[in-house]
């Protein structure tokens, strides 16, 4: 039962940790690095609450072994705002009341950011299908979808890189 030493980049900062055998990236983020913004809702990749961006790809961090993160670049909800300035998606979620309990919100925001990086002008249908892996039980998705599309419109206007 060996432990793997892992060096990675999280939200632009170098991090190091020892991965426990079988530990997931989500475990490492939450337990070793103290980044509890990524949530575990299912542990099986079905709810999206643990969404992070791994080397540019949106993934469920519960389905990535911590050891796999060696040398990888990871972006989490904690890196989304620029200091005290919220990302336009975060701002629009607040303005549209696109969260109720807020538990799925970090995952939804990370997933929405990944969407706008590849598609700055998504249709409602494209947005809904992209976010189909992020379960939200409170909002019925209505305000979430509106917030994402409104943020996309603002970002196109301002040419803010996603």
């Amino acid at each position: 039962m060996s432990r793997n030493h892992v060096s990675a980049t999280v939200n632009g900062d170098p991090v190091e940790f020892l991965s426990h055998p079988g530990a997931t990236l989500l475990d490492a983020l939450r337990d070793d690095l103290g980044l509890t913004g990524s949530k575990e809702g299912c542990g099986s990749g079905d709810c999206g609450a643990c969404s992070v961006i791994l080397d540019g790809r949106l993934v469920c961090s519960c389905l990535v072994l911590a050891a796999e993160a060696q040398g990888r670049r990871i972006e989490t909800i904690e890196g989304m705002a620029d200091g005290a300035t919220l990302h336009p998606l975060q701002q629009k979620f607040l303005e549209h009341a696109a969260l109720q309990c807020g538990f799925c919100t970090p995952g939804l925001l990370v997933a929405a950011k990944a969407l706008l990086e590849v598609n700055p002008d998504p249709s409602e249908s494209e947005t809904r299908y992209w976010l189909a892996g992020n379960l939200c039980r409170c909002t019925g998705y209505d305000k979430v979808i509106r917030a994402v599309m409104d943020a996309a419109a603002d970002m196109r206007q301002a040419r803010v890189p996603a």
Partner: protein, 288 residues
């Protein structure tokens, strides 16, 4: 999920050696493996990550066909325009696997080696006559995709063997494929039935060659030869589609489970076969 060792070998041969260890498991995207380990459905054992093997991730062309690295995520497959143009059915099937997040990780080879009869990409690959390159302690061999799964969750792979790449043949003229599945929701479900159809037309637009593969209606993907025969010689007209529907249903040997009844699976296989054949035919006619 305790007592698991992890290694990420830098060559296929090293990986084969590592995988020969008792209980070792190959890790591609991990979207099935990690779930099964966590649920205790697999005994713990060493994890051999294939992603650092050169060529394990990526798509390249060779001799008019495509070579897809075993750990290439679905999202990368969907982004490859040449592949999507040549094999739209294979690509759409692969891109149906799970959510956007799953697409960021899940691979065709993983979908194949998980050996679920409901795997989305497999009927499409079988219809496309895809092959896979297997690496093992005794070297390399190439086998058709349909030879991999021998039963639910069981493959023909020997100890130490793993799929390194999947090969799609060159696309002939007037030829196309398509895939559709039936799920209860619009996303995030396992196929209750999935149908892949690959067609090649002659110059008159008549179907010269057809292959129909149906998922989730038997212990492994069913290659419906009679269904394919129903299409050959036709222009996918209503009469041919009706014969296809009946032949597809006749090929089904499904079970009833929490995801669907045998009766439902059988009838939907016929419906989807018709719809998929129509899409493939339209695609083929639009290709010079």
């Amino acid at each position: 999920m305790s007592h698991i060792d992890y290694m990420a070998p830098a060559s296929a041969e090293e990986a084969a050696t590592a995988l020969a260890a008792h209980g070792a498991r190959a890790l591609g995207g991990g979207t099935d493996l990690l779930v099964q380990l966590r649920a205790g459905r697999l005994p713990p054992g060493p994890i051999v990550d294939l992603k650092r093997i050169p060529g394990a991730i990526g798509i390249r062309r060779e001799g008019g066909g495509f070579i897809i690295g075993a750990a290439t995520p679905g999202m990368a497959i969907g982004e490859n325009e040449a592949l999507a143009a040549a094999w739209p059915g294979v690509v759409e099937a692969t891109c149906l696997i799970g959510s956007t997040q799953i697409q960021g990780r899940a691979s065709m080879a993983g979908n194949l080696c998980n050996a679920s009869p409901a795997a989305d990409s497999v009927p499409a690959m079988i219809a496309a006559r895809a092959t896979c390159v297997i690496v093992g302690p005794s070297g390399r061999r190439t086998i058709p995709v349909e030879a991999i799964a021998v039963g639910p969750g069981r493959t023909c792979l020997e100890a130490g063997e793993f799929v390194l790449e999947i090969r799609l043949p060159p696309r002939p003229p007037r030829s196309a494929d398509a895939y559709l599945r039936s799920i209860p929701r619009t996303e995030m479900d396992i196929a209750v039935v999935g149908v892949g159809v690959n067609l090649t037309l002659d110059e008159s637009g008549t179907i010269a060659e057809a292959r129909v593969a149906i998922g989730a209606v038997g212990p492994t993907v069913v290659i419906a030869k009679d269904a394919a025969a129903a299409l050959v010689g036709s222009k996918a007209d209503d009469a041919a589609l009706a014969k296809l529907d009946a032949a597809a249903r006749a090929a089904c040997r499904p079970i009833s489970d929490k995801r669907g009844t045998a009766e439902f699976r059988t009838s939907i296989a016929g419906v989807l076969a018709r719809r998929v054949a129509t899409i493939a035919y339209e695609r083929a006619t639009s290709r010079p």
